[in-house]
């Protein structure tokens, strides 16, 4: 029993993290139909910024990372994605691969390819016990952040003017513009949110692995993309849920696969995803009805 709860807590942590990654990708996809594979490099750059600001008081360092990630996201949109806005999905996809490649190699050529291990505050690796169950502070922080961000985003999208405009733009960008919504502003807002989410994930990943590498964004962005597909691409709720499910499946396979198959865990994860998409190609929250 204790062991099961222990796994459950680990699963919740990974699921929360995957949900945040998926949300960061979905918020941009929803509004401009772009799967931003360079989202992982925003996460990666955030981690390198963290290395620089590590000496600052924690709140200031966190703030700096979040702002840096938002900035990178917005700059990316202005420089790389705006010129191809409205192009075919494949053009935008190739552009995002190019940005991803450029940023990763930019970091490799300037900072080097060696993994770096920052000195993090000790509390992140400490844990406490509830009965026989051991819980890391980082697990609590991750879960709490996922809940706070989910509630915060829900309020933002349903209660604020900008949130409403973004929802309208995600549903029908042309009509939103015909209503007077400034396309540049809603798209920039989507990238700001996406960048902030990437910043949070960046902090969580470094806190968890104590490792900063130029490639650290690649695996998360793949997970985020798959989660978004499971969720049905156009729905933020779906994306978050997709990330959550993916995190759970990953931990479940890690725990219950026979030991000699565990190295192939990710292959099983993707097999699960493919099986899911065969049964439900539109994802959990795919287009419920054709728009009239």
């Amino acid at each position: 029993m204790t062991e099961q709860i222990q796994y459950l807590i680990a699963a919740l942590q990974l699921a929360s993290q995957d949900a945040l990654i998926a949300l960061g990708i979905a918020v941009v996809f929803g509004i401009m139909g772009l799967v931003n594979f360079a989202h992982g490099e925003i996460i990666m750059l955030g981690a390198y910024v963290l290395l620089v600001v590590l000496g600052l008081p924690a709140p200031l360092a966190i703030f700096a990372v979040l702002i840096a990630c938002a900035f990178v996201a917005v700059a990316m949109e202005r420089i790389a994605f705006r010129p191809v806005r409205g192009s075919s999905a494949s053009t935008m996809l190739v552009t995002s691969f190019a940005v991803s490649f450029l940023l990763q190699n930019g970091v490799i050529s300037t900072v080097g390819n060696l993994p770096q291990t920052p000195e993090l505050p000790g509390i992140l690796s400490e844990s406490f016990h509830v009965g026989a169950v051991r819980i890391q502070y980082l697990q609590v922080i991750t879960g709490a952040l996922a809940i706070i961000l989910a509630v915060g985003l829900t309020l933002f999208f349903t209660r604020t003017t900008m949130g409403r405009r973004m929802r309208a733009a995600a549903e029908d960008l042309r009509m939103a513009r015909l209503c007077g919504v400034d396309a540049n502003r809603v798209i920039a807002a989507a990238f700001v949110i996406s960048g902030l989410l990437a910043g949070v994930v960046s902090l969580l990943l470094v806190a968890q692995t104590d490792l900063v590498t130029p490639q650290m964004g690649s695996a998360p962005v793949l997970i985020g993309f798959v989660a978004t597909v499971i969720g049905g691409l156009r729905s933020l709720v779906g994306a978050a849920l997709g990330g959550f499910i993916l995190g759970f499946v990953t931990v479940a396979l890690q725990v219950y696969l026979p030991v000699d198959l565990r190295d192939f865990r990710d292959a099983f994860v993707f097999a699960f995803v493919i099986a899911f998409l065969v049964v439900r190609p539109q994802g959990l929250f795919g287009p419920a009805q054709e728009r009239v």
Partner: protein, 242 residues
């Protein structure tokens, strides 16, 4: 007020509008009728800034609209009710109306009263402001699309086939509203395949076919014109109600 001069709009290589010219004066109700594929929607989207003409000019109060973004044009006072309505189906009726108000430059407290005023024209919507817009009937969605456009406080209202897919009784209700709006002084440019009703409602009508204006006249002139009869009969079989 709104003047199109030799407007030519293309989709890639194919030309949809071959240099059309027309004008709508302050307070006028003007209709453009034409068969499917004539270029009516292309014309509306060109005015609203969604499509950019390759040649010719579109001016509003003497200022060129060409190259202006759609969000800017609606703020300048031209609102489009597009073909197919394009209501935000996942949002509530009320949120759709708020979206319409985006370009309306409201001061605090003013918006609620304006929504009330617009809803007086559409009693069916008033009961259902918290309903999801996707759940409305076709007629109600069309009314919502018009109400949404009105909340931008336009000086010119562009309507692209508002009768499309609606039952005759509902079409009548929509046209009643248009005539009411026209009487209130809003300038209207209406595009229709439903020629009989459009000609009847409008002060002046243009006939558009294959991307060219073929005919043009005031209501009384057109109704008595032989050539109009033939053009109109050419595409309106079964649609004419008289």
């Amino acid at each position: 007020m709104l003047v199109l001069d030799q407007v030519e709009t293309r989709y890639g290589r194919s030309i949809a509008l071959h240099g059309i010219s027309l004008h709508v004066d302050q307070g006028e109700f003007v209709a453009v009728i034409g068969p499917n594929g004539a270029g009516k929607s292309t014309m509306m989207l060109s005015i609203a800034g969604v499509l950019k003409p390759a040649a010719g000019s579109i001016t509003f109060d003497g200022e060129s609209l060409i190259g202006r973004a759609p969000e800017r044009i609606v703020r300048d006072g031209i609102a489009l009710v597009p073909e197919g309505r394009h209501i935000f189906a996942t949002m509530s009726v009320h949120d759709n109306l708020l979206m319409g108000a985006t370009a309306g430059r409201y001061s605090k407290g003013e918006l609620g009263a304006e929504i009330e005023r617009v809803l007086e024209l559409f009693p069916a919507l008033r009961q259902r402001t918290s309903a999801s817009a996707g759940k409305l009937s076709g007629g109600e969605q069309q009314q919502l699309a018009i109400a949404r456009a009105l909340l931008s406080r336009p000086r010119v209202l562009l309507l692209d086939e508002p009768s499309l897919g609606l039952a005759p009784r509902v079409v009548d209700a929509v046209f009643d509203v248009l005539e009411k709006l026209s009487a209130e002084g809003i300038t209207i440019l209406l595009v229709e395949q439903n020629a009989a009703m459009a000609v009847e409602a409008a002060d002046r009508t243009y006939v558009l076919r294959n991307g060219r204006i073929e005919l043009h006249g005031k209501r009384d002139e057109l109704v008595n014109m032989d050539s109009f009869e033939s053009v109109y009969m050419g595409f309106a079989e079964g649609k004419a109600q008289s």
